[in-house]
Amino acid sequence: MTNLTNRSYTYYFLLPAGIIYFVFFLLPTIMSFFFSMTWWTLTDWKFIGLENFITFLTEPSLNIGFKNTIIYAVVTCLLKVILGLFLGVFLSQKLKTIGFVRSMVFFPTLLSTVAVGMAFAMMMHPTQGLINTALKIVGIAGPDWLGDISIALLSVALVDVWKGVGMATVIFIAGIMSIPEDYYEALAIDGGNSFHKFWNIIVPLSRPAMNSVIILAFIGGLRSFDLVWAMTKGGPGFSTDLIASIIYKQYQGGFYGLSTAGNVILFIVVSALAFPLYAFLNRKEVDL
């Protein structure tokens, strides 16, 4: 191959980009692994081995983040997949107002997460909020969405789903639209009903789309920060703290070594969950 390609530029042209990549990406990455094992004040550091990691994993105000993050990622991912699939099926039909309805579903994705979080935090106020006022009219006493520690995390997750389901839907629509008409014709000849159409054609053949949604939503859930911070700042207490918000708080507190250790842990958690999931999903994919 090399003989056939006439290389007219030297590799030195890669240097500027390479240097930038090294200084701003590779170097900090390597340094972060080192500083995660130090007591660090930005100007001064002391090597303390794995103590930061032990602190992070043993202290209840820190390790509550692991449980919450997993719950948050699984809940948002599942709901986005299920709702996204149904909306995708619905919105890939030939309706007159399809353009309008599709934009309606996609619209929340375009909003700023912080603005969405603040707006929903207001609507979820237990006594004056829009949601509970509306529920009161129909005679239901709404819960304290963000104040009750047993549901606060789920409330935030629901808002995340509201905001993120549009993206999932669009990916599903693209997947469903790419299924060739032949399959539907074959189904019609065999006398299948619409359930068969959904279960035996759409679900298996939109698998690539579903895999993308699962991976994107799951990784997004694992590293989520902005929505939680805008809505509850991890509260009440630590009940909605995610790994990322805990890391941020440690950084604010001036524990630079500890927060870097948290980032390393987050990196490991995301990789340890996302790569096997990705490999697993890829194996199940079928060709059209």
């Binding site: 007591w39 237990p126 104040g147 509260g235 630590f238 950084y251 604010q252």
Partner: protein
């Protein structure tokens, strides 16, 4: 594919770290330069963008007129973000000539010996009140002047409700609780909780320090030296128990977890609630939004076990500090000297009414000070004040707001909360490299 994954892995971790660094952006600093033509010196001053600068600007205008020293303001964010910015600018040698910052533990965490000019020998330092001077010092050397008056932490109360129900200002915790019971029976909110802003939940714990020191006079030193833990010291633990008691007895407003600071002030001013445990820096905001209700708002310290030991926990004002590497140390000292003079104080107080007694000895207050501040003065006159713990010990855990919310909303018990806070504090002490931890 494998290689791609690896690159993705490397990239994503780099992106995470870059995200962390993005939190500490820094502005260009113009360090003071002499204007060749006029001989005028410009000092740069870094202040947070949360405070009202009218008072300070009145003083610096006068300094410019009098000494031909111009002050150029640079704004920074407040809170934790501002702390990061200050630390980063100090670490990169990019600090302004003058810097306004918290006193006490936050200041002491900035490595003062290395970063700030020692002003212990200046004559004007003598006029600073001792409580304030201590919080502006590190290892016995003074580095700053108080940027405002003292503040106090305690309980605001609505005088109308007190009159209506025939209550009197409580001198002991039990009296306060029985007042609360009567207010609750009358169908009003006894204690306003605004734990949506989690920092407000700490007030009952922090404002209890006078009482803690009454029971255990060396607590601050022992705490710093790791010889005393909050959870094992009955006097200190009772601060957390008081916080829990207010919730357990149902004195808080129903929506205390969804109410924020500003809504809390509104409830107090409009008489929806009788008490609001808060710092006196709330006064200007009350004045701005509820000026006509202000005369109905009084203040008392958080009471302890005995009426004889009733005293006030005070907050030392933030300070103004001089960069050790400034090119104009003499001008900076002149600036400070004027700032703490009676003239400087008058100019300041004419713009911003003091939120507590002055931090400079011998400075007179005008008659139109807030009623709540007048309620505080007797404690200063009879020397029944103590600084909050954060001014006596560099150890303050960053998670106290969240822990206070947990204790104050029944998620965890007082003892468990205190234990968790003791652990939180340990991290801080280790980070500061204190002895004995």
């Amino acid at each position: 594919m494998k290689a791609k994954k690896k690159i993705f892995a490397v990239l994503s971790s780099a992106a995470l770290f870059a995200g962390i660094l993005a939190g500490c952006s820094s502005n260009d600093s113009a360090s003071g330069d002499k204007d060749e033509d006029s001989g005028q010196v410009t000092l740069t001053l870094l202040v947070d963008n949360q405070s009202n600068l009218d008072g300070m600007k009145a003083v610096t205008d006068a300094i410019e007129e009098k000494y031909d020293i111009k002050t150029e303001y640079e704004l920074r964010p407040g809170g934790g973000e501002g702390d990061n910015l200050v630390k980063t600018r100090l670490a990169t040698g990019d600090m302004t000539d003058l810097m306004a910052y918290n006193s006490g533990s936050l200041f002491q965490a900035l490595n003062p010996e290395q970063n700030f000019l020692d002003i212990s020998e200046e004559p004007f330092v003598e006029t600073i009140m001792d409580d304030a001077k201590e919080a502006l010092s590190s290892n016995g050397k003074v580095y700053g002047i108080p940027a405002a008056s003292f503040m106090a932490g305690g309980w605001f109360y609505n005088k109308k409700i007190y009159e209506e129900l025939g209550l009197s200002v409580p001198k002991t915790w039990d009296e306060l609780m029985s007042n609360n019971e009567k207010i609750k029976e009358a169908g009003k909110t006894a204690v306003i909780g605004s734990y949506k802003d989690s920092w407000t939940a700490q007030v009952i714990v922090l404002a209890d320090n006078y009482n803690v020191l009454q029971q255990h006079s060396t607590f601050a030193e022992d705490f710093t030296a790791n010889k005393a833990k909050i959870a094992d010291t009955p006097g200190a633990l009772s601060s957390f128990e008081k916080l829990a008691e207010v919730y357990d007895k149902g004195y808080l407003n129903e929506d205390f977890l969804a109410t924020g600071y500003e809504a809390g002030l509104q409830k107090l001013a409009e008489g929806e609630g009788a008490h609001y445990p808060m710092l006196s820096f709330a006064l200007p905001m009350l004045q701005a939004n509820y000026a006509e209700e202000l005369e109905n708002i009084g203040f008392f310290p958080q009471p302890g076990d005995s009426a004889d030991e009733n005293g006030l926990t005070v907050w030392v004002p933030g300070g103004v500090f001089v960069n050790k590497n400034t090119e104009h140390p003499e001008e900076a000292k002149k600036w400070m000297e004027f700032f703490v003079s009676q003239e400087g104080n008058d100019l300041y107080n004419a713009k911003i009414k003091p939120q507590g007694p002055p931090a400079i000895k011998g400075v007179e207050l005008s008659d139109d000070v807030y009623g709540a501040v007048k309620d505080m003065l007797p404690y200063f006159e009879s020397d029944k004040t103590a600084p909050a713990l954060e001014f006596l010990s560099p150890v303050k855990g960053p998670n106290l707001p969240q822990i206070a919310v947990e204790v104050g909303s029944g998620i965890s018990k007082a003892k468990a909360g205190a234990e968790l806070y003791d652990k939180d504090v340990e991290k801080q002490a280790k980070q500061l490299g204190l002895e004995g931890w």
